[in-house]
């Protein structure tokens, strides 16, 4: 899509697209080890199916193979692509570290949370779009705009993800409702609640989040009720919409024929309106 906006054929973009997809999968393989996640896309994770060593080493090798794909482009774009790619890798590593650090922090500001999801999640769609722009010879200012568009839809996507975990229809979303609450995950919902909650609710929230619940669904119900009273559900959707709007505004500024932006507009809409 990033290449299409700027008029390039998809053949130009296919190798870096494969590279970024493989890079993403490498990070998932390692993240699943670090997060002790047993399922991914409904399948056992690599370290559960095989073992930790296999997950570490096949991740490393996949990272290198991803890097090879990133270089399968014209010479004139090679340096710019490598710079984007390496910066993105380092950003994603930082994001994962912040995510793990936050689990041990008593309090995390919403700003710190947004920076974490920017690094861990949003730089990837941003880098994908920019990579397409690079092979399409887009100008520096257009590359920056398409990147920023990617960041904003990435942030919107993650906050919607946090929202759906608790307020989505379980059947569609395919996860346990409130899984983040059970796992004491400091999501946007929780951090926003701490920001707006009066002192009494504050204590109930932090206490609920720092004890291992005997009855998980009871804990989810308690926290959900507090969230609803504080209108965190509405605030979350407003926040998603804010980023969505910002993304569309930037997309409008991208110098490209309007017809070529259609796919990206649809993408942004799908991500924001998704219910699963």
């Amino acid at each position: 899509m990033g290449a299409h906006v700027f008029g390039a054929e998809k053949e130009k973009a296919i190798n870096p697209a494969i590279g970024l997809e493989l890079f993403h999968n490498f990070t998932l393989i390692h993240d699943d080890v670090m997060d002790d996640a047993h399922l991914r896309r409904g399948q056992p994770t690599v370290f559960k199916k095989w073992n930790t060593n296999t997950a570490i080493l096949s991740g490393d090798a996949l990272f290198a193979i991803a890097s090879q794909y990133m270089t399968q482009i014209d010479d004139i774009h090679l340096r710019q692509m490598m710079e984007l790619y390496h910066t993105t890798v380092i950003d994603v590593c930082k994001g994962q570290q912040y995510d793990m650090d936050f689990e041990k922090c008593a309090s995390v500001s919403l700003d710190a949370y947004l920076e974490m999801i920017r690094l861990k999640t949003a730089v990837l769609p941003a880098a994908c779009l920019k990579a397409g722009g690079i092979v399409a010879n887009a100008s520096a200012s257009n590359l920056q705009k398409i990147y920023d568009f990617g960041i904003l839809i990435g942030l919107a996507f993650q906050i919607k993800d946090d929202y759906l975990d608790l307020f989505g229809e379980t059947a569609k979303f395919g996860k346990t409702q409130g899984g983040d609450i059970i796992a004491n995950k400091k999501t946007w919902l929780y951090l926003k609640a701490l920001e707006v909650a009066p002192k009494t609710k504050h204590e109930i929230l932090t206490k609920a989040y720092h004890t291992k619940p005997e009855n998980p669904s009871e804990k989810v119900a308690t926290v959900k009720e507090i969230f609803l009273r504080l209108h965190i559900d509405k605030l979350a959707l407003e926040e998603v919409r804010k980023y969505y709007k910002g993304a569309i505004e930037i997309l409008n500024e991208v110098e490209a024929p309007d017809s070529r932006k259609e796919l990206l507009r649809e993408l942004a809409e799908v991500l924001v309106n998704r219910e699963v």
Copy 2:
């Protein structure tokens, strides 16, 4: 040294040199997790000092930072350097996988062992020298020769390493004498012994290597005696010398002033004659 042979100033080589050093350290951080190694250079390994997650993630980030250094060279060398670098990374991953696989194999051929140490160990000095050659604008044939020289001194180094583990002076080498035997590591010594041993010794060797010893130093003594009777110590040193000679022959063929090859000749000699 690789740049120096072909007349380039070290400033040209410093960034990829840092990159390859960091890459090497990334592989050590992950290898130590996989091998459950508690000490490295006399210090606690990253995963022992911190934890496995820190070792996985800081390794990944270090890999990305190493890759950034590899690109800090002139545009005309960028593609060739990236190809060398990514191939080397994949080779080293393969070597580590073979090394772990071999631990579970009843028998490993000497050829398979040599291929394993070529991938796990020897491609690194080879890639370092070739990287220097690339920034020094060396010809394709000279690059191949300096690479092959690196492979041969890498193989010589590793077999000498296997030799010193059992026959080196403990104080100098700084490890437990026979540590490889205690750990049932299939070294060149062991595999060569299996190749040349008569059937009776063969059984004693394989049995010793497949039981957890009650008395480790007794096991080392038993195996060492068999090795000595089979002259494995002399055969190992002959093998080291064979690769050393092969390396010097290739170095002689490299088209460069003899004076500029002096450092590499010294390097080869130091690696082969080292006693620690």
